[in-house]
């Protein structure tokens, strides 16, 4: 159904995996013709690679102005490629780049928009999507009419691994920008390196009170010889420092044992811990999404379970 324009994102000099997930989503839409778009400076080869690995005919905006991500440059480049390709659907990954620019494209083209989708398909005069709402607690089926811009959640579907015919084609656009890129600041290392711990005990907003972290969460981490972690609201509230944060904007960890207490399981937390070898979730809400990634779940008050577990582990060690 129409042309689907897949916008690639380059990370550390390569097209990131999330872009190939978009290709897979586009390939999965009945009757769609897939086109790609690569934006950057000196990206001719990457555009050819994208064209041959599933994106088919790939538009390329290769300009010194696009050396670093810039919201104005990207929105003008994508709008120009949308016009050149006549795309009915424009797919962008829901990354910090995607959520910054994608809604602007929809507003600029005065067309339908939906974000962070986990499924995409052809619809009736538009497209159908599935996405999560209420921080993962509910799913929504969304349909659009006419031309559509959509972002897809990274990791929701497997990346495309086949090949395709197609070459790169330059598209020109006025790339003048109001916003100015200044620099990228990388996170400073702080000594708290959760990635080295065999056991991580993380507390979430459900812990409710900053004092409870040293009183309840840290002792369980200590008795297991592990480290304490936290979800983002705990860090936002200033209860713990940023190095303790697990998730997409914190540390990505994969310990032998991850215990999540009072954490609901929003996607941004899950991406930071779901690769753990064994996951125990303690939450009083039986519908909390954390139970979907956990191996063992305890539906109970963490203030009953965590201290009792600390004591029992201590006793078992003798």
């Amino acid at each position: 159904m129409g042309t689907v324009l897949v916008v690639a994102e380059i990370q550390n000099g390569a097209i990131r995996e999330a872009s190939y997930e978009l290709v897979a989503a586009a390939q999965g839409i009945d009757g769609a013709e897939v086109n790609g778009l690569v934006i950057g400076s000196g990206v001719g080869e990457l555009a050819s690679e994208f064209a041959s690995k599933g994106a088919g005919k790939t538009y390329v905006v290769d300009d010194a102005a696009a050396e670093n991500y810039n919201v104005d440059v990207w929105s003008k480049a994508i709008k120009a490629a949308a016009e050149a390709s006549g795309a009915e659907l424009i797919l962008i990954a829901n990354t910090p780049t995607g959520w910054d620019v994608a809604p602007r494209i929809a507003a600029g083209l005065d067309c339908a928009f939906t974000s962070d989708c986990i499924k995409a398909g052809a619809g009736d005069g538009g497209y159908n999507f599935v996405r999560r709402v209420f921080n993962g607690k509910l799913d929504a089926e969304v349909s659009t009419s006419g031309r559509t811009v959509a972002t897809m959640q990274p990791g929701a579907i497997a990346p495309f691994e086949g090949s395709s015919d197609g070459g790169a084609e330059a598209v020109s656009a006025d790339l003048s920008a109001g916003a100015k890129f200044v620099e990228i600041k990388v996170a400073e290392s702080t000594g708290v390196d959760l990635t080295k711990a065999d056991v991580i005990v993380s507390g979430g907003r459900g812990v409710g009170d900053p004092e409870k972290f040293p009183e309840i969460i840290q002792p369980l981490a200590d008795v297991l010889g592990g480290a304490m972690g936290a979800s983002r609201p705990v860090v936002d509230a200033g209860w713990l420092d940023h190095p303790y944060q697990v998730g997409s904007s914190g540390q990505v960890v994969a310990p032998k044992l991850y215990i999540a207490a009072g954490i609901s399981g929003a996607i941004q937390h899950l991406v930071g811990m779901k690769a753990s070898n064994f996951i125990v979730a303690i939450n009083k809400d039986p519908d909390a999404p954390i139970f979907e990634v956990a191996d063992i779940g305890v539906v109970a008050d963490l203030f009953d379970i965590v201290p009792a577990l600390t004591e029992a582990v201590g006793a078992a060690k003798g």
């Binding site: 910054d100 928009f113 209420f134 029992a312």
Partner: protein, 261 residues
């Protein structure tokens, strides 16, 4: 400098979420609402500018039904100067683009030099409206902002990327900034603030007042939610049952099996 803050009232984070009768949204009767968490940080960011003397006026704007007055009063209690409440049945259930058109119309009418919003609404999780408002106004924008540094002609912002990296961007004014949670320490409405807020104006407007009745109502939606439901349980956890002692006993056994004891 005139500063506008877009704020949404959403179900309280601990509210019980039940799907409504026609299965397209949640049951909103008898649940508590609050200011969207991200927007509280946006209000604070605007009030900091006022404290510093660089904002002349902070205007909070919300689209929603009668209950939204409460959220606006709270923001006024924190220190905002006045509020605009777009309350119109035709604006109920607007999609992101229609909502953005309404907010852009307010920003234009007010002549806002700076627009703040939250990165994302805790209910629809769309992260859509702020960049749309910016596009409609022709403003540069940045989302996921955790730090701001204002000068006369521009504002330097730090945007959060993945894994703790930050991108520093300089935006010429007028511009729009969508704030990420944790960007600042949000103040509470003081008792004095709440008393003063009672005297502050809340302007109620309709889509017709803003001249967008034909372009930005729910009837113009291009995106529709057809169905909302509890996600099907996939490969879910084994749920332990029993008394606290029994559950803890099973956990200890498991931890031993994992070779961690």
């Amino acid at each position: 400098m005139k500063v506008m803050v877009c704020l949404k009232q959403v179900p309280h984070q601990d509210a019980r979420l039940d799907v409504n009768g026609d299965g397209t949204w949640i049951q909103e009767d008898n649940i508590k609402f609050e200011i969207n968490s991200y927007d509280t940080y946006a209000v604070e960011e605007a009030l900091k500018l006022k404290d510093a003397g660089s904002a002349d006026e902070v205007i909070v704007v919300s689209i929603g039904p009668d209950r939204v007055t409460q959220a606006l009063r709270t923001a006024l209690g924190m220190g905002a100067d006045r509020a605009i409440h777009v309350n119109d049945d035709a604006a109920a259930g607007t999609d992101a683009l229609a909502t953005a058109k309404i907010l852009a119309a307010v920003a234009k009418e007010e002549g806002a030099d700076l627009v703040f919003a939250g990165l994302m609404a805790d209910d629809d999780n769309a992260s859509a409206i702020p960049p749309m408002v910016a596009e409609l106004l022709g403003f540069p924008s940045a989302t996921g902002v955790v730090a701001t540094d204002f000068s006369d002609a521009s504002v330097k912002v730090e945007r959060e990327l993945e894994g703790g990296a930050l991108e520093v961007v300089d935006l010429p004014k007028p511009c729009l900034i969508a704030i990420q949670s944790g960007a600042n320490q949000v103040r509470y409405a003081s008792l004095k603030g709440i008393m003063q807020a009672k005297k502050k104006p809340v302007d109620v407007k309709t889509l017709a007042d803003l001249g967008v009745a034909d372009s930005a109502s729910a009837a113009q939606n291009k995106t529709t939610i057809n169905k909302i439901y509890v996600p099907p349980k996939g490969d879910t956890a084994e749920i332990l049952s029993g008394s606290t002692d029994e559950v803890v006993g099973q956990l200890v056994t498991k931890i031993k099996e994992l070779g961690l004891l």
